[in-house]
Symmetry: C2
Subunit: 281 residues, 2 copies
């Protein structure tokens, strides 16, 4: 069983890429096999992990334009795009050409399901598949949502950040009613968090209330929660991508590394408990 | 003479709206007449200034879809959309419908020049016209660039933020070679700035070098510079929009208010000196 998670938020600069890369790296260090799928034409996740843009041969772009057929046969082999970047950690890299995919696929009848077909053969190899979505609700993000089982929303504890959440969940809801009925929002990761401010506490309280009110309704975020710990603001997290390093390689004991390690442990534990419950007779 | 400035950056959450709103408010407090044009379907600038979305009658959306003709006549009257929100400060509000404008105007031959025609009659009323662009290089931002004389780029001093700058300037360059030959990038405003970190200093140094190398070329950013002061990170700036207030109303003496006031003084002085040079015989 594979935990396939789309990390999405249409707002820019909220911590999607930083979370995908460092959470994946932390899980890999725990011995879990993790695949990062870079769905953003900015290719920041690929850059962050040290993938040289010039060196990318087959990319996510090629896979989306020529995926395996519905029967799993044919198309470009996803294994050709796979880049093993760390022990237990691989990436399907993005390239700037990916920006063209949205218009090139605009009239294909199966345009939302392409990534799901690309990932199918990879599920038996990886325990966690994390998709880094671009800051939009366009076709690339929709492919992420159609291929995912879960959605995690990185966000900042700020008033203006709350304004976009409704629209985000509406998109997830539509996807759940259509192409992907199993889709759930498992939770929110608070990024660049400053717990000491009253503002941050109020925004977090607003989110808790929003989720509490959804508890007894049949909504995709009815069992969503705020992941802990929040990820504190820490300049080391902004510096490490410039060296193509994860925060654990760059500054193993800084607060950013501490927080992502703790978050990874919480996520791994949550997943193991779910698997244990599923395998009970 | 009117200073028409597009505040643009395709990256999200970098401080565009916070800068437009507080810089405009600071200039208004100095007695200058300022118009804020909200070009973002998120309508955060409108929200920030206390414009209730339900109360918006005529918006930027209506004006773009039915602008004055090339001769200045006809169309929806921009004065009908004008909302005076503070002494010396008005806004042309956005609404979520604005998101549809990009596709609705996609095949109109004059689709990039509509905002320029909307703003023409308003230039005799306002000394500063600030356009808050959405986080994209799409048609709304292009309308902002076609209507502007200057571009100011709010950005964060982070490695990943530098990655988008090249593409941004390329877009300005294309606009300058085509629809708007007078367009110049006057500068960059560093937002959410933490001067104490070496990382921020390195990113600022990179930008200074980039501009220095452009000095003796005929590029739209050849006389661009980094505005000072940088705007420090200050939670008051994130709190004030939730009350529909500018930072000066919310926390008049906080560091955020101090910085935007100083930036407004610097911009006003720069503009007055330019006007003085122009009027010299
Ligand atoms: N906890 C943190 N502390 C300090 N800086 C951070 C933190 N998390 C992210 N950053 C920095 O903030 C910026 C935005 O983060 P990131 O790129 O992860 O966001 P994103 O949501 O993926 O952005 P985009 O929408 O452009 O894809 C980056 O420069 C990143 O290095
Ligand atoms: N100097 C600052 N200190 C603290 N918070 C800030 C500062 N500047 C902006 N913010 C907050 O950061 C978030 C992003 O800022 P803002 O909305 O101005 O960016 P933007 O570039 O307009 O975003 P978008 O791309 O979504 O339009 C907001 O929640 C805002 O309140
Ligand atoms: Mg990203
Ligand atoms: Mg904005």
């Amino acid at each position: 069983l594979t935990r396939v998670v789309a990390f999405m938020n249409q707002k820019g600069g909220v911590g999607k890429t930083t979370t995908v890369v460092n959470l994946a790296a932390a899980l890999a260090e725990l011995g879990r096999k993790v695949l990062v799928v870079d769905l953003d034409p900015q290719a920041h996740a690929s850059l962050h992990l040290g993938v040289d843009a010039e060196s990318v041969g087959v990319s996510v772009y090629d896979l989306l334009l020529d995926p395996p057929g519905p029967d799993g046969r044919g198309g470009t082999d996803p294994l050709d795009a796979l880049r093993c970047v760390r022990p237990n950690l691989a990436v399907l890299p993005a390239v700037t050409d990916l920006a063209a995919a949205e218009s090139e696929l605009a009239s294909a009848p199966d345009r939302q399901q392409r990534l799901a077909r690309v990932l199918e053969p990879l599920k038996k190899v990886y325990e966690f598949i994390f998709m880094d979505c671009p800051p939009s609700l366009g076709l690339l993000t929709l492919n992420g949502l159609a291929a995912a089982r879960e959605v995690i929303v990185p966000m900042k504890a700020e008033f203006l950040a709350l304004q976009g959440v409704g629209k985000l969940f509406q998109t997830v809801h539509l996807m759940g009613q259509g192409v992907n009925p199993h889709l759930r929002v498992t939770g929110v990761v608070m990024c660049m968090h400053d717990e000491s401010t009253r503002h941050a506490k109020e925004v977090v309280a607003d989110l808790e209330r929003y989720f509490a009110e959804a508890r007894d309704q049949k909504l995709p975020w009815s069992s969503a929660r705020i992941y802990r710990p929040a990820i504190r603001r820490n300049v080391k997290l902004a510096e490490s991508p410039s060296f193509g390093q994860t925060v654990f390689e760059y500054a193993a004991d800084c607060p950013g590394a501490e927080d992502y390690r703790a978050l990874a442990l919480a996520m791994a534990k949550e997943w193991d408990e779910l698997l244990a419950r599923l395998s009970r007779p």
